[in-house]
Subunit: 415 residues, 2 copies
């Protein structure tokens, strides 16, 4: 039984994701697709529109056999750490390959870039540091450093977001010594950041454009780009909890958190760079919305996503010292299982003894500081839900057993 | 020019308060009434229904000549510290007397009780400690200790809330060596805690019953118990900011604050007694409302008001060490002026050089850790107001000059 690993956010799960999971199994000749998925908060620092349980259900009904959670310590991070955590978890699960979408679409340039980087890591770090000093953002500086080192060759375009992620997946596989084989495919949805739905008869669109259509026009507008399960779960979530989560829902809590932090305390929060604390505290007094705060904070040096991640760490009050301690081990400390199909369950039973990290099915059965942070992130995520639904949500977060889906009978066994 | 001091919350200012201010001037032969008023959060740990500025305006139109703010470090405190701060501020202002309402109504029992207490302080403390150990609440234990010491005499009934406060005012005058002369009068509104408005033709009711009528039935229902200015300011506040503040408005912030505190951090918050932190963290998970949380937390040992104050300190994240440091000096560190009539202004001009603490008219002109806490409390208070009004509120808190009222022309000069 072979498993292919996917790194996902499913915000929300759409037709492109289903196609990606199918292709992953075919191209890697695997019977099981295992996805490591961000929990409540995503790599861009945003809250997921709906809970990880709702997103897990969407995935299990659409060709994904195992869903595990990417812990907060890796999920709300720049590409390098996000990739390190994801690859480590797929390796723990015993996946024999990792399949990712990219703008490039061919795996060789990724492998070459990773190997070239290993040889020239010191040069690259030096240039990176210099460019950062000049005030460039991290992605811009990294792209510049790479193009300097690889100049003249058939280079991987590292200004493209999915190429960057892919590069870091491959790097993480190499540096961790994992035997997982990387595969890539060109993403069908033209651009990850496309804001508008395609006008043609395409049934595949970017998650960004789907979210925009959902929020502005409701589920019907995005319906043709979503599998039935996604449309159903999105509606069910909003019926149960009253909202689809967005950054604005957290604005008053960001304000509150900042009200109770001194500049010195704020400077100890993860991702709050030296000197930025005063600017944040000045800015927050003026801002009347999350967007306004972001626009006032943004500079060439600090990208939007970087600042959003910082805001999320301000919400969870994650301290630098704690994050650095939790990131010290080179591999992820546990595998939190969110859901599985029958095939996924069979795979896990077969591999049980070979898993290289503890498999956590119930929160009450395992304890780890990184898991405490996941629980905290879940609580913070639930804040905009009105009572009494919020308390129900929190109870589910804590007591929910992994979701089991019978893919033959097409029904959930416990949800 | 003589000033009489009043200790007030004006939540909201009602006819009883106007009568009290008039009587204070007559009985003490003073031309000026100076009130020290709690800011955003009150002695019972609740938020004031409307801002301190709105309450200041109500008072200035109704016979109060000077309103100063009781800092957070004294305002959200048990009777003893509340009284200590209030008395200290009225003394700083140069008041020659302090006039308070009580259930008893005669000043001699207060003076006797205070003197008797001085003689028997050690005995009393001993009994108090023993009763607390048995699990009694502080007020119940204090009442027991007093009745033991004063037994057989014409005793002051120290189970009555206003007698307790009065006792502590008189104690604070004696222990601070102030020359202020204490006066008391029987409160007209039968009971401070009366929940219902009186049914007869009375125009005086308890603040508790007035708030209840306001919330349940609107301003009209409480109209005959309020001066015109109070009804107007209450309406204006709700029109501007959308709410009258109540504890439930802060529930999600209490939840959030507790989500981000470990048991160890929580145990360092002021008023969180040893061992209570675990109970709080367990309780908050279950509670779907502020009231439900309180009902789950309440025991014989912890009174409702004590727990509400604790919740407010959890909201402002006030640490024991900080509070203890700020309470160390025996007198208040500054006089924050909120408003004055022409007569009040004349009094302050005349007394300017005799004031025994700095007079703070603008926040930007003075700096003190206790004032920082007042500013923080104001920010926390504003959280339930929707944007963009919340930001306007915060700006006013910071930039508002003391309100000036011309009592001859019956108009505000700057508001």
């Amino acid at each position: 039984m072979k498993a292919v690993g996917l790194v996902v956010e499913y915000n929300p799960f759409h037709n492109g994701h289903r196609y990606h999971a199918e292709q992953a199994k075919i191209k890697t000749d695997s019977s099981v697709a295992a996805a490591v998925m961000s929990g409540p908060f995503l790599q861009r620092g945003e809250p997921a529109a709906v809970s990880k349980w709702a997103r897990t259900k969407m995935a299990l009904e659409n060709g994904v056999d195992i869903v595990i959670e990417l812990p907060y310590i890796y999920a709300v991070q720049k590409a390098e750490l996000f990739a390190r955590g994801s690859v480590s978890l797929l390796h723990h699960l015993g996946c024999s390959s990792l399949f990712f979408g990219s703008e490039n679409g061919r795996i060789e340039p990724f492998i070459e870039a990773s190997e070239a980087f290993s040889r020239k890591e010191d040069d690259c770090s030096l240039i990176l540091k210099e460019e950062l000093k000049k005030g460039l953002s991290y992605p811009a500086a990294a792209s510049k450093a790479f193009s300097h080192i690889f100049k003249g060759r058939d280079m991987l375009d590292l200004s493209k977001p999915n190429n960057i992620l892919g590069f870091h997946y491959v790097r993480a596989i190499h540096t961790s010594g994992s035997a997982m084989k990387p595969y890539t495919t060109a993403r069908i949805a033209s651009q990850y950041h496309d804001a508008e739905l395609p006008g043609d008869n395409s049934r595949i669109a970017s998650a960004t454009s789907i979210r925009k259509a959902l929020i502005e026009k409701g589920t019907a507008a995005a319906r043709s780009f979503l599998p039935e399960a996604s449309a159903r779960e999105l509606e069910a979530y909003r019926n149960s909890y009253g909202i689809w989560h967005s950054t604005e829902d957290y604005f008053s809590y960001v304000k509150y958190s900042l009200s109770t932090l001194s500049a010195e305390e704020l400077s100890r929060i993860y991702e709050v760079e030296e000197g930025l604390e005063h600017r944040i505290l000045r800015t927050i007094r003026q801002a009347r919305s999350y967007r306004e705060m972001m626009e006032r904070l943004k500079t060439k040096r600090y990208t939007w996503t970087r600042l959003q991640r910082m805001n999320t760490h301000i919400l969870t009050r994650t301290k630098k010292e704690d994050m650095h301690r939790l990131l010290k081990p080179s591999s992820a400390p546990y595998i939190r299982l969110l859901g599985m199909t029958k095939k996924g369950q069979a795979y896990l039973s077969a591999k049980k003894k070979e898993l290289t990290a503890p498999l956590v099915s119930k929160l009450s059965s395992f304890s780890h500081p990184a898991l405490d942070l996941d629980i905290l992130a879940g609580r913070v995520y639930s804040l905009p839900i009105n009572e009494p639904e919020r308390t129900l949500f929190e109870k589910q977060e804590f007591s929910q057993a992994p979701i089991r889906y019978d893919e033959d009978e097409k029904r959930f066994l416990n949800a």
